[in-house]
Amino acid sequence: MNLKKTFLPLVNPLSKENPVIVQVLGICSALAVTAKMEPALVMTISVTAVLALSNVIISLLRNTIPTSIRIIVQLVVVAALVVIVDQVLKAWNYEVSKALSVFIGLIITNCIIMGRLEAFALNNRPWQSFLDGIGNGIGYGVILVIISFFRELFGSGTLMGYQIFPQSWYEAGYMNNGMMILPPMALILAGCIIWVHRAKNKDLQE
């Protein structure tokens, strides 16, 4: 099999079919968890894990699922995986689990996951579905990391919790931008990313 074709599901979602900035899915959580980089990274890992595993499971079951309850079956699988992720975080990274609080539970409603299950996993083999899940998770994560980078740097003056701007700047009158901490700024930054991305990819322009 053509190697390039095999890895298409992995590479495509990174730019040309990016779930956040091209399909505009999963925006809700992109607003909520990007005030700091660390929760954004944990959210990325969590979503990628849930997405890849649910894609594989649904792909394995795809020939047995009764069509009349296929959405419910998908929801049960996703919900189970999300509860597992939530429990694991509570046990191994309690601080981050506190910071993400309800948003882990809300992975269930992340449109990217249901979207990929319906559009890809139901019609493709497990290995392809796995790559598709990883690719979309990373595509989602890249945007989260870019947004949280700017929000944390200008909103709190830190990156991953480490102070970036020296104290002398603050003494000289520099102030953190409080707007960066608030959710609307994530939307504005996402808009800027879409702008730059469309400008570079003429074929995506409508």
Binding site: T64, P66, K90
Partner: protein
């Protein structure tokens, strides 16, 4: 035998089997991770208690270690200030349920903390903010009147506004405040706006833009500390709280 994938029987059996498998997997995961989760929650509570006494864990001293060296005793008192010999672990008292009871029926946990500047008495407080619960711990000097330190936390107050109550900039204001007035009456600590300072009594400045959360802190302190009045009085008279 091949079954029709669209038949009702197949659908019902499929969903039952799926749910049973998922249920089993989830309960195994839950059972396997529970001890670690409970330890995390206990450690987090210990960290909060220590924070009230201005003890912050560092890289080489874990919360559990600090807690066992500094918290020398913990017990439960009633509203008469008498030590209750109930078989209840003060650490596991659910303060959120206690503050809803009438004052006389509450069981009041006290944590005795040995710090460099003497013995401190830490009590839990619990109340409501704007969006959800707020809680904290307040450490008192052994005179049973002056606050040594305070720690506040919240579930979901507005970031940058009400959520500022968890910052030391707010909680450190409580240090050295008295909760009894000169006549020995309970007065708590008021949380007031700039320019509205009362002429007498202890107060701290509210968070601008976080008015409802600030008022919540004031109500929380009044409601949670008042039942301890008798206990603090006994402390101030230098009486050991007898068993």
């Amino acid at each position: 035998m091949t079954m029709n994938r669209q038949s009702n029987l197949y659908t019902v059996i499929y969903s039952v089997v799926l749910v049973v498998i998922v249920g089993v997997v989830l309960s195994i995961v839950y059972q396997a991770l529970r001890p670690q989760q409970e330890e995390n929650i206990a450690n987090d509570t210990k960290r909060q208690i220590l924070a009230a006494a201005l003890i912050v864990p560092s890289e080489n001293r874990s919360v559990a270690e600090l807690y066992s060296t500094h918290i020398t005793d913990s017990y439960i008192v009633n509203t008469e200030g008498e030590r209750v010999d109930a078989n209840i672990d003060p650490f596991s008292v659910n303060v959120s349920l206690e503050v809803k009871k009438p004052a006389a029926e509450r069981i009041l946990p006290v944590f005795v903390c040995d710090t460099q500047s003497g013995v401190k008495y830490i009590v839990p407080v619990y109340g409501a903010g704007l969006w959800g619960p707020i809680w904290g711990y307040v450490a008192f000097n052994s005179d049973g009147d002056t606050i040594y330190g305070a720690y506040f936390a919240h579930q979901g107050e507005t970031p940058g506004l009400g959520a500022e109550i968890e910052k030391p900039a707010f909680s450190s204001q409580f240090q050295e405040k008295d909760i009894f007035n000169s006549e020995g009456m309970f007065q708590s600590v008021k949380v007031v706006k700039n320019g509205q300072e009362p002429t007498e009594g202890s107060y701290v400045h509210a968070i601008s833009g976080g008015t409802i959360t600030s008022q919540g802190v004031q109500r929380m302190l009044e409601n949670s500390l008042e039942p301890y009045s008798a206990f603090f009085k006994k402390l101030s008279q230098g009486k050991e709280v007898e068993k």
